[in-house]
């Protein structure tokens, strides 16, 4: 049956294929976003020794649907003296890059919407665009809190972009390609071939920067409730607010997915090269053990959980400490490790750079 569906898919015109591909990515993504919010409340609830949402639907499973319906039906209030056009386009500008970045993510072998040569650069460029939504939202709201929040956030994003970029440089040095699929293939072999081990410092830098890039706790000064209410989106309500919310969670999932791809080998199976070939030939278990989208989703989920875990665990950084961490700790660490990596690559050290 799969063959029949694939044949039908490939017989469609290219435009149709792309449109279907987009739907196949965006709809599950939106569902994932909705249930991430639910997971967040549950995880933090358990971390706080509470139960979390459990009223709507069986065990609270319909909670995100209820939230979405509530936000959809609320009025979008445009503040007086706000710049209406920019005010309304800011949420769009935030979510568009968060969704567009998924175009180059390979979910399984060859399963990317666009197999771009410079995929890594594309990702870097698109993640750097998200800041415009925040800046414009802050400015167009005509509110002091919003402006302060957007300034904080813009400075933070631009600062951590550098550390993030350097970490990606490390990845591309190790992989020798900018193509995201190529990066995953460069990590194949066994679990020890993943870039996690040789690039361990860069992995930490990347994930920390990723948390900062998404303005999540403990780097959430941009919306720090106790200081500036909600930061850049303080004036937003209803669906406009929901779009910001969606973008934040979509970005979280994106960063988790990218970390999984760049350092943990994406859809590669951790058992590859460890279990004998016979294990993969087993009927059902074999296909579970083998490479596939399920590993990618599983690895992504680990990092997504880490996001929630951080939020429940760490107190918020002070603003100057955030800047210090970004500029004086993460960037030097990446530069030092790039140098070390250069030496490793030059001398073909280990199974990674041979």
């Amino acid at each position: 049956m799969f063959d029949w569906m694939m044949n039908f898919f490939y017989s469609l015109p290219t435009v149709m294929q792309i449109l279907i591909g987009i739907q196949l990515i965006v709809i599950p993504l939106m569902l994932a976003v909705a249930y991430t919010t639910f997971a967040e409340r549950k995880v933090i609830g358990y971390a706080h020794v509470r139960i979390g949402p459990n009223r709507v639907g069986p065990r609270g499973w319909l909670q995100p649907i209820a939230d979405a319906l509530k936000l959809l039906t609320k009025e979008v209030i445009v503040p007086t003296n706000a710049n209406r056009f920019l005010f309304l386009s800011a949420p769009v500008l935030t979510i568009a890059p968060a969704l567009a970045a998924w175009a180059v993510i390979p979910f399984f072998d060859g399963g990317a919407l666009a197999n771009v040569n410079a995929g890594l650069l594309y990702l870097l460029a698109l993640t750097s665009l998200g800041v415009y939504g925040i800046i414009i939202a802050g400015w167009a709201s005509n509110s002091k809190y919003a402006l302060l929040g957007s300034l904080r956030s813009a400075a933070q994003l631009v600062s951590y972009e550098i550390a993030m970029g350097f970490a990606l440089v490390g990845v591309l040095m190790a992989a020798g390609t900018l193509n995201v699929g190529g990066i995953i293939e460069a990590q194949s072999g066994s679990m020890y071939h993943w870039f996690l081990l040789p690039l361990l410092p860069l992995f930490f830098v990347y994930f920390i920067s990723g948390v900062a890039e998404t303005n999540r706790a403990p780097f959430d000064v941009a919306e720090g409730e106790s200081e500036i209410v909600a930061g850049f989106h303080v004036e937003y309500s209803g669906m406009a607010f929901a779009v910001f919310f969606l973008a934040e969670y979509a970005n979280m999932i994106l960063i988790s997915a990218l970390t999984a791809i760049l350092f943990l080998g994406g859809w590669l199976s951790p058992f590859q090269g460890i279990l004998p070939q016979a294990a993969f030939d087993l009927p059902v278990i074999g296909s579970l053990l083998d490479h596939g989208i399920h590993w990618f989703l599983f690895k992504t989920a680990i990092f997504l959980f880490a996001f929630l875990w951080f939020r429940a665990t760490f107190p918020r950084y002070r603003y100057d400490q955030i800047m210090r961490l970004g500029w004086k700790v993460l960037i030097p660490v990446t530069i030092v490790w790039l140098f070390v990596e250069g030496v490793l690559v030059a001398f073909n050290v280990g199974p990674w750079f041979a």
Partner: protein, 217 residues
């Protein structure tokens, strides 16, 4: 007209329109945003020319970093446009003459003196990033290194011109904070335990009296 040509003219039109808007709008934030649109359109044209590295880097560097900082500054500044526009009409004739001369020469050069055939389309295996890297680190390695030195000098200059140690600066030293030990902060006093006293009506003294009261409740 091929699809690519349509895209080229579309992005070209956006580019020119945004550029015109950028220099003519009144609000500096809008001007900066129009400049962003310009950059994005230019990046798209780079992509059409199969120079994906240049296009993406244009977005990454100019749109993602430079213009963000630019917007940052513009948003915080209170720019007096009336003052900036003073003398505009005075200098307009000179500007028009210079612009006309430049335009004439550009048009002349492009239409009359430079004849270029349409370059061959490269195949899908062609990677602009790789080609650029290969030529930068081989044929143009010397200018490339000099450019790096110029950036280094820019960093040195910027730091030496802005960093000053101010005695009134109260910034904290995180290293010092981290190095704090319990011994430096807490003095353990060994005191004989106090005897439990009978509850009293009136508190004597402010501090200890209050706690005594609390204990007695």
């Amino acid at each position: 007209m091929t699809f690519e040509l349509i895209l080229f003219y579309a992005f070209g039109a956006i580019l020119l329109g945004a550029a015109l808007a950028m220099i003519s709008v009144r609000n500096p934030v809008h001007a900066a945003l129009f400049l962003v649109v310009c950059f994005v359109a230019a990046a798209a044209i780079w992509l059409l020319a199969e120079a994906e590295f240049l296009g993406i880097v244009l977005v990454l560097v100019y749109v993602g970093a430079v213009m963000v900082l630019f917007l940052f500054v513009v948003m915080m500044l209170d720019i007096n446009l009336a003052k900036l526009r003073e003398g505009f009409t005075e200098y307009l004739p000179v500007g028009v003459v210079v612009a006309a001369a430049m335009a004439t020469v550009l048009v002349l050069v492009i239409t009359r003196y430079i004849t270029m055939e349409v370059p061959e389309r490269a195949g899908p295996e062609y990677a602009n990033t790789e080609a650029l890297g290969a030529i930068l680190y081989t044929e143009y390695v010397y200018p490339f290194e000099i450019a790096a030195v110029i950036l280094l000098v820019a960093i040195i200059a910027a730091i030496s011109l802005t960093m000053r140690k101010r005695p009134d600066n109260k910034s904290i030293d995180p290293g010092q904070q981290m190095a704090v030990s319990r011994e430096g902060r807490v003095r353990m006093v060994s005191m004989p335990s106090e005897k439990k006293r009978a509850p009293r009506r009136s508190a004597q003294g402010s501090g200890s009296g209050a706690s005594d009261d609390d204990a007695s409740k």
